[in-house]
């Protein structure tokens, strides 16, 4: 009797605890190791100027990655994040002279509209999410190209610029935007019924339907949320950058995806969340900035991010529940 009680209250062994929490511990350890390595190689990194650079590189990326996290949590994939970010940024720079600050709601509404189309194509018309969003992303790229005519457009509006580059307590305000949005997303995912249902759909879609969740409606909502965050990232990115062309944000899909899976959100859905993506974004941005400082250009970075995406994608997938995968 006493012995069994003892077993019941026995604290888990460190190895057991580690195995259970590997998806949380892994990214933390990886982030610390990566930060440490680059710190040793280049001590400028954690000085004030280095941190400012990293903040600028990280913040808009984090917002877009939060949106993608919701979609991946649900077991789907959104290819159109980068193109919607680009379109939203270009809408801001193209129409700010005519509309003033009203471009921000316009850009967000357009983004949410494309998210709605994604959702309808995926949920109602039963097109696989990857292909649906790929098609939408081609259309969005086409619109962006058509609107911008391929030229470089510069931003002149001071108020719009000050959204992100005002320094508060020594750090640019885009950091506070990003942190705030990441916290709100985490709260949505963890506390609200909406978030719990996204986890449920990701873990077992058929079970979610049987327990009374309106699957199609939630899928559309999540794609709209993802696109909204992509659009918001685009607005803030443009405000930070101060100008851009249709080339803006090229080749960002794989780093975005890599940062989501490196944080511990599995492709199979049902686990992870925006709070984990924060770590993934730190890892990816640090590698990006560190490699750039060491003189490795974008091409070799693509190789690294692709490798991270594949390795972390394999590592995070939960293979117990799924019978087959397409």
């Amino acid at each position: 009797m006493k012995r069994s009680e003892k077993i019941m209250v026995r604290r888990p062994l460190p190895s057991e605890w580690l195995r259970k929490n590997i998806s949380t511990v892994g990214p933390v350890v990886a982030a610390i190791v990566i930060i440490g390595i680059f710190q040793v190689i280049n001590p400028v990194f954690l000085k004030y100027q280095g941190i400012i650079t990293l903040v600028y590189a990280m913040s808009y990326f984090l917002i877009a990655a939060c949106g993608l996290t919701f979609v991946i949590m649900m077991g789907s994939f959104d290819f159109s994040v980068v193109s919607i970010l680009k379109l939203s940024a270009l809408i801001c720079v193209l129409y700010i002279d005519r509309l003033g600050l009203l471009v921000i709601p316009l850009a967000l509404v357009v983004s949410v509209g494309f998210g709605f189309i994604n959702g309808i194509l995926f949920a109602k018309l039963k097109v696989p999410s990857f292909m649906a969003t790929l098609g939408v992303s081609i259309v969005v790229e086409g619109i962006a190209l058509y609107l911008s005519k391929g030229f470089l457009h510069m931003l002149t509006d001071k108020t719009f610029k000050s959204l992100t580059v005002t320094f508060i307590a020594g750090l640019p305000s885009i950091l506070y935007w990003a942190i705030g949005i990441c916290i709100i997303c985490t709260l949505i995912a963890i506390i609200t019924p909406f978030g719990r249902r996204i986890y449920a759909i990701g873990g077992n879609p058929i079970g979610a339907v049987l327990s009374g969740i309106n699957l199609d409606r939630y899928r559309i909502y999540v794609f709209m949320l993802g696109s909204f965050l992509a659009g918001l990232a685009g607005v803030l990115y443009m405000s930070q950058l101060g100008g851009g062309s249709v080339e803006l944000g090229a080749d960002m899909t794989i780093p975005l995806f890599a940062s989501v899976v490196a944080g511990g959100t599995a492709l199979s859905g049902g686990v992870g969340g925006p709070h984990k993506t924060l770590l993934g974004v730190i890892i990816i941005t640090w590698i990006q900035a560190g490699m750039l400082m060491l003189g490795y250009g974008r091409e070799i970075q693509m190789v690294v991010f692709g490798a991270i995406a594949i390795i972390m994608g394999i590592a995070t997938i939960d293979r117990r529940g799924i019978k087959f995968v397409k």
């Binding site: 097109v127 696989p128 259309v139 594949i310």
Partner: protein
Amino acid sequence: MKTPDRKKLILSIISQTIKIYPVIFILIAFVVIFSSLYPERFLTSLNFSSILRQFVTLILFSVGPSIVVVTGSLDLSYVGIWMLGGILVWVLTPIIGIFSILVIPLLGLATGFLIGIIHAKAKMPSFILTLSLLVIYSGLTATIAGGIPRIVKGYDFITADFIPGIPTAFLWAIPIIIAAIYIVKRTRIGIYLYSIGSNEEGARLAGINVDKYKIMAFTISGLFSGIGSVIIFKNQGGSVPIMLNLNTVVYPLVAIVLGGTLLVGGSGGPHRTILGALTFTVIIRGLTISFLDPTMIQLIVGLLLIASIVVGSRGVKGVMVT
């Protein structure tokens, strides 16, 4: 009495064909539209030959992936094989001479096998796996090339003129297409691939080694992409691109979907992709020579992709899409 019967028979054959290949309708419609709008530019031998040239590029990229799409997966690695293979040929030609062209099919074979192993054993969704691999390959290509597009010389014999007027690349494509159709339609592998595509769990229960045949599908696809890349390589003038262009990735997909191969698997195949590629080439050519704003073409391609997927996946029931 005989004539009406025969008429009926012919009519029913035509209606059946249109039911199976609705894309024929679109093809005829677009040819009619473009030839009536721009007769002096569309109906020329130059345009015909450039349609054939573009068609060859498209079909050689899409014939391998359409074998994979039959199983319900996706293979986007073809552009990566083309790029990395091309730059490896550029590296190897001074060392081992003319045989270095064989590195492209070998690379395709190895890539397909690798994708198949990771996809089947580690259960990673194929589209994101192949997309990541594509980005890795393009990064490697740009790194090896040193940031400059390289031109490989010495392989002109592959596409040397054989029959005047018809691109030799087109002649090369014919046996490749026939081989792909033979594999899918006339061998046991093909039948197993269709059964895996329509019901993977059922195929497993029927005793098919699903993992083995999935790996085989990806390997065959990689090999076809590799062989195709050798021909495309010269068809494009022997230059090795170093920038990854989304359009080159998407166009073969549009051709596959337009041909009527369902993305959920279990139907279609390379024989349908021929028509899809031809239709898409005609549309692209027609749009290119039209008076349309060039920036509109991409928009139209995207809409075409969405429309053809939506039309293609109509009436698919009981499939859980993710």
